[in-house]
Assembly symmetry: C2
Homo-oligomer: 336 residues x 2
Amino acid sequence: MKINTWFGVIELGNDGKLLASEIYPKNVRELALRSLSLRDSRQNLPPEGFDLAAVAIDYGFVDSLSEYYSLLHKVTLETVKLQVSEALTPDQRIVQAVEALDDINETTNSLSERLFEWYGGYFPESGLNGESLAYFVAKYGSRENIPPDDPLYLKARDSMGAKLETADESLLKGFAESVCSLYDRRKQIEAYIEDSMASLAPNLTMLAGPMLGARLISVAGSLEKLAAFPSSTIQVIGANKALFKHLRSRAPSPKHGIIYSHPLINTSPWWVRGKVARALAAKLSLAARIDFYSAKKDPSLTGELEEKIRKIREANPRPPQKRQEVRVKPKKKRRK
Amino acid sequence: MKINTWFGVIELGNDGKLLASEIYPKNVRELALRSLSLRDSRQNLPPEGFDLAAVAIDYGFVDSLSEYYSLLHKVTLETVKLQVSEALTPDQRIVQAVEALDDINETTNSLSERLFEWYGGYFPESGLNGESLAYFVAKYGSRENIPPDDPLYLKARDSMGAKLETADESLLKGFAESVCSLYDRRKQIEAYIEDSMASLAPNLTMLAGPMLGARLISVAGSLEKLAAFPSSTIQVIGANKALFKHLRSRAPSPKHGIIYSHPLINTSPWWVRGKVARALAAKLSLAARIDFYSAKKDPSLTGELEEKIRKIREANPRPPQKRQEVRVKPKKKRRK
């Protein structure tokens, strides 16, 4: 009978006597790796009450009980560390990136608005805002520095804005540079998400695009969880408020959550959006499952989805005309 | 009789005949500056119904009525521009800086927390957060880059954090750099406020410190408004919620608003804080008025304030013991 232990493999005779054994070298990291694979396989574990420490001393793996426990302590600690490292799977890294992107978007917007208001006192006619304003201010500072070949030169010359003092100019320029740095960061994180999504979830990326796909994984918590969701859940992910209102009261069920940002939905006429969302969610759910279990790209998904949506649109060329009837019915009931 | 007009000075005889005149050159900017000073002085304005246009043509200032009105249009436009420029007074610039600082503080905190959570997966033992973490990540990136002479070297070597891939490392480093840029901006804006406050409101700065002084101006809207506030308002600026609760119901009146951050108040024992706040607000109000109307520094204010507060503390060495009595009195009234 073979027994796998954390320090080696032991051969045990039927009478309980030790026959042979293979003792591993005393390398903490290797022992930790072996115990992780032991945990996964769960094969030939020692029977209950088996005195591992005594065997370890018998075979000369350790000299004393205290050495045995001190080494076991180190190995289990290392095992935990390895497990922690493994917790940062690629999809968890994407989730982190999506959350960071959301934070950056929010802060960039609020700082951009501040810059718009602040710089507005000095050059209200610029007509710039957001990213273009930030790059403009970081580049020129005062409107007096705009060269004559710039399209804004004339506006800047005749501007009714105040004169920008040197101290204020360096302040505003610095502020704009920070805002630019955040805009750059946003692009970097978006590029990272696009790259990671293409390798982690090629099918989801193909159908939903990298950003929407990453957002779905982020809301679900992980690709595994997303793959386990029914497609009806994927359809309303992100519409929590409307969903719970529907479940609590007579409010209509939400037709779509964050998948609304998908072009197939938001370019559809309103009366087919619910149907399109259902078809899209079904394919997204399928894509997430293929991604999680095989990670092979299946180009046929796109064609199937497009065909399905073409059919939906063809079957519903005009908005439904039943609104009038629906309104009349309850009135009749009340009159009875 | 002398008449000041926007295009020149006219001498008018008692019989209404023109005697002599001084016509200004046709320079739009100069004419605008003159009409601004005319607006301020309001002396020798033309009588009602006086036909300025005819006089302007008579004296050869313009050739036709249409030229007169087109020039007048240009000059008034330029005047408005000059007035807009003047609206950005030094205290308005400080208000802008304080608001930008508040925005920066908020965004920096939220991005710092994100960085802490994000980097925590890779080096949870660092024990750093906020600014020091941002500079650490921007400098080293992965914990593998920490040199052996760094105090965190050992922790980094034995860390249970995950291995930082190259793509994630450049992402995290970039993010940390953006956060550092915001921290730098914060320092720059604080330095700007300190500089500007020292010249704009030396007395307020002397008593309240530059940041609290700037915040008081910011909440009031301008130095002029702050100077017009009674000291009781200055005492509770920023405690709006508590103040209105007090005015609506039987809640106690707030003892202090944003001036609570002043060391004289927050280092005082709780039972004299209200008195100290009143004394401080009185001196701050005085300081704001001196700053607005003369801008000369009056070093005696500090001494007076300190003397006053010393007296308050001496007169109230122990917390009041009257709580019991106060509670009993209203009960007696109800029993009557």
